[in-house]
Amino acid sequence: MIARTARHQDYRKNLHRSDLLWLAALLHRLSGLGLAAFLPLHFLTLGLAVDGEARLESFLRWSDAPAVKIGEAVLMFLLAVHALGGVRLLAVENLAWHEGQKRNAVLAAVAAAAMAIVFLVWIF
């Protein structure tokens, strides 16, 4: 009862928002939101080829700009962190519970950041 009351007080003070797994859930949600916002633009861009190659080619040359490449690396981070975070969630929900979820969440974010950096180096 005392522990429950303490947890309730922590919740009221928003202390849960500094918990690493709460931050991982927020990152998962925001990365998903970012990807959902990007996907229609991605599909519209690919659809430019409907009138021939010229319009798609024009867009691709615009995407050679350094700022766009940095944007693409950010998208790679969003994709990787959302996918790895999702795999972690599927494992939590479907496999036997094991300790170390905070470590796994950090690993997912670090791996996604590493992938985005490698991608940035790859395309420059």
């Binding site: 229609p40 599909f43 659809g47 080829a49 969630l89």
Partner: protein
């Protein structure tokens, strides 16, 4: 989120996990092997395999994204569950339409 939406959300996530890995490999490959419109379309047009792969990817992503958007709108906006569901359904349909159109444009001969 009801049980049905929960299952669809998780099932599409499980389907997409290996597809995302493949998509990332394709992105890395494409950016080093000619990223002109002619090169890209030469590789993709007429490819039944890529057409089916990306059509399935688009369907899974549209369902997954729509359910995710529904949850976010219901929790973070003043809209009630029903309105959030309608908004997310429309978003999913638009995503599905644009995505399948893009796949058709890029892969059909």
């Amino acid at each position: 989120m009801n049980v049905s939406l929960y299952i669809w959300q998780r099932a599409t996530a499980a389907i997409m996990a290996p597809m995302i890995l493949m998509h990332v490999v394709v992105i890395f490959y494409a950016t080093r092997h000619g990223i002109t419109a002619v090169d890209i379309l030469a590789r993709t047009r007429g490819s039944m395999g890529w057409g089916v792969f990306y059509a399935l990817f688009v369907v899974a992503a549209s369902i997954h994204a729509a359910i995710g958007i529904r949850n976010i709108v219901a929790e973070w906006s003043p809209l009630d569950d029903r309105a959030a569901g309608i908004a997310a359904f429309v978003f999913g349909l638009v995503l599905l339409g644009l995505g399948l159109r893009a796949v058709a444009v890029v892969t059909l001969p």
